[in-house]
Amino acid sequence: MQLTTWLQLVPGRPFRRAGHRTALIAAGLPLHLAVVPLWLWLLGTFAALVPAVTPLPVLLTLVVTPLLTVGQRRRYRALVGKDLPRPPTPGPGRNWTWAVRRLTSRALWRQVCYHAVAGPLLAVLDLAVLAVWAAALVAASIYVWIWALPPQWRVTDLGYTTQAAYITAGGLALLFLGPRLTGALVRLDTRAAEVLLGPSRTEKLARRVADLAESRAGVLDAADAERRRIERDLHDGAQQRLVSLAVNLGLARATLGDLPADARKVIDEAHREAKEAIAELNDLVRGLHPAVLEDRGLDAALSGVAARLPIPVRVAVDLPRRPSPTVEAVAYFVVSEALTNVVKHARATRAEVTVHRIGETLLVVVADDGAGGADLAGAGGTGLAGLAKRVASVDGTFSCRSPAGGPTVITVELPCAP
């Protein structure tokens, strides 16, 4: 039967928990003491003036450290069901680079610190607490000992009513104190193990940042995929139906020549509205995720945007390779929203869009010769603030220079993987 199962037999919850913790302490004792012989050997090499041997115990310490760490993890897992957090493992590499990375990793030296310094100190406290338990149990049960021991072993002048009673009371007091001391020591031990065997604060934060970046990228990708799906559904369904409807109405208008004027007017109206619905749906689909962006990339999609504007817009896109779909989508929406703003607010006569890739950065510049005075918090600012947020969602930077009197230049840098 396992120790933990035996501990179930200890009566009373506080005592059972204390039992588990005491077992944890007892199991910790040999592990904490394991490095002490190596230390003694190290000191011995100095004392015996054979420094040539000195590296040996140090090396041995490095070798046993991972094994002891595994032992400590098992101890926590088996006795209190706690998983100590793991430090980040050094990535794979060729033998010697891996070894160097291992030897220079802070995680390894924190572990050495735990086993070689904290361990022996904890071992002293372990012994003290175990001694308190032993003393408490013996003292509390002193009458049993008096009764059970053979006469020649007894302390002869022990007064049954005075000293023995005091000892029993002391034992009971220690029994009361025992769980608290045990708890305190376990907290100290756990804290030391977490700090020295687990990841450091920096490593924890780094891992958290990596997790967050990953989940955010996932959310963005999912949103983009959803937009594409809606676009495709609309394209295959509603758009085709509307075109078909408009064609039928157009045919009715063209072929039914002998209609009363009222009926003709109704058909004309319906035809016009069907065409308007097609145009509106097309705009909506373009706003969601234009198919041309997915198929042909930024160059084609942006010249499409520019062609639909009432002012001349020059578009220069220079991309040897296509960036990721997410970055493309952000760049597209930035340019298309910025150009919409130019037309709505800037009173510009012309605009210019350039998209370049410089190293691992996609540089997007939208400039116009309008009145300027655009700012993130201003009247037309909600659009710009939305753009800035969208850019920030992929860790890009957004800047808008727009002095009163113009010109306005919006510069966006988007990171893209090499």
């Binding site: 064609v247 109405l249 045919l251 065409k275 020059r314």
Partner: protein, 218 residues
């Protein structure tokens, strides 16, 4: 006139067929992919093929490639491409290889029944029809600029020429006299340094220059 249609969306195919039949075309074949289209053209030798750009199996540019094959192998068959959105590179590909009997329109133009039928007829007769959006977009992309010397009016005239309109069509559209249109066109030829040769040839060259398909002589 005889026509075939290649379009994978059933609704739109039916619509286009109805429009063309109402306009007096005889529909020889209706197919849903490029392979079927080439077979149908081989079999029927129609005056015009109305072709969707994206078709099975790849849904990319099957229609454009089929159109280039058709214009090359069956010179008697004109091609009108239909597209959901403007892909000016395809239009440029098509125009670079052919200057007559080709067209490129957005699908939604089919709804303007009379104008669509008129465009099909024009292309079938060896003319061209380019969607205004295609023209606008090609204009955005064109950067080298003897064209900047054109006046806004001349630019309008050239855009309509690129759309495949005749002088009288342009005059009607702009509400000016035909002689005024002719004057603008001559001025355009001069500004674009086009040699005084065959008038039709110059017209095509001007349009190609405008669309950025042909480079100016260096």
């Amino acid at each position: 006139m005889r026509a075939v249609i290649a379009e994978d969306s059933l609704l739109l195919r039916i619509g286009v067929v109805k429009v063309l039949e109402a306009a007096g075309f005889e529909m020889c074949a209706q197919v849903a992919d490029a392979e079927g289209l080439l077979a149908a053209v081989e079999e029927h030798r129609p005056d015009i093929a109305v072709v969707d750009v994206r078709m099975p199996p790849g849904f990319t540019d099957e229609g454009v490639r089929a159109a280039l094959v058709i214009r090359h192998q069956y010179p008697g068959t004109a091609v009108l491409l239909l597209s959901q959105y403007v892909e000016e590179r395809y239009a440029a590909d098509l125009l670079a290889a052919n200057t007559s009997g080709v067209g490129y329109l957005l699908k939604q133009r089919v709804a303007d029944v009379e104008e669509f039928a008129e465009a099909v007829r024009r292309v079938a007769a060896g003319g061209t029809a380019l969607d205004p959006q295609v023209v606008a977009q090609l204009l955005v992309r064109r950067h080298s600029d003897p064209l900047d010397r054109l006046t806004p009016r001349e630019r309008e005239v050239l855009e309509l020429m690129a759309g495949g309109r005749s002088n009288s069509g342009i005059a009607a559209e702009l509400v000016v006299s035909e002689s005024a249109v002719a004057k603008h066109i001559n001025s355009i030829f001069t500004k674009l340094d086009l040699p005084k040769a065959d008038a039709d040839h110059r017209r095509v060259l001007a349009v190609l220059r405008f669309l950025g398909v042909a480079r100016p002589p260096s």
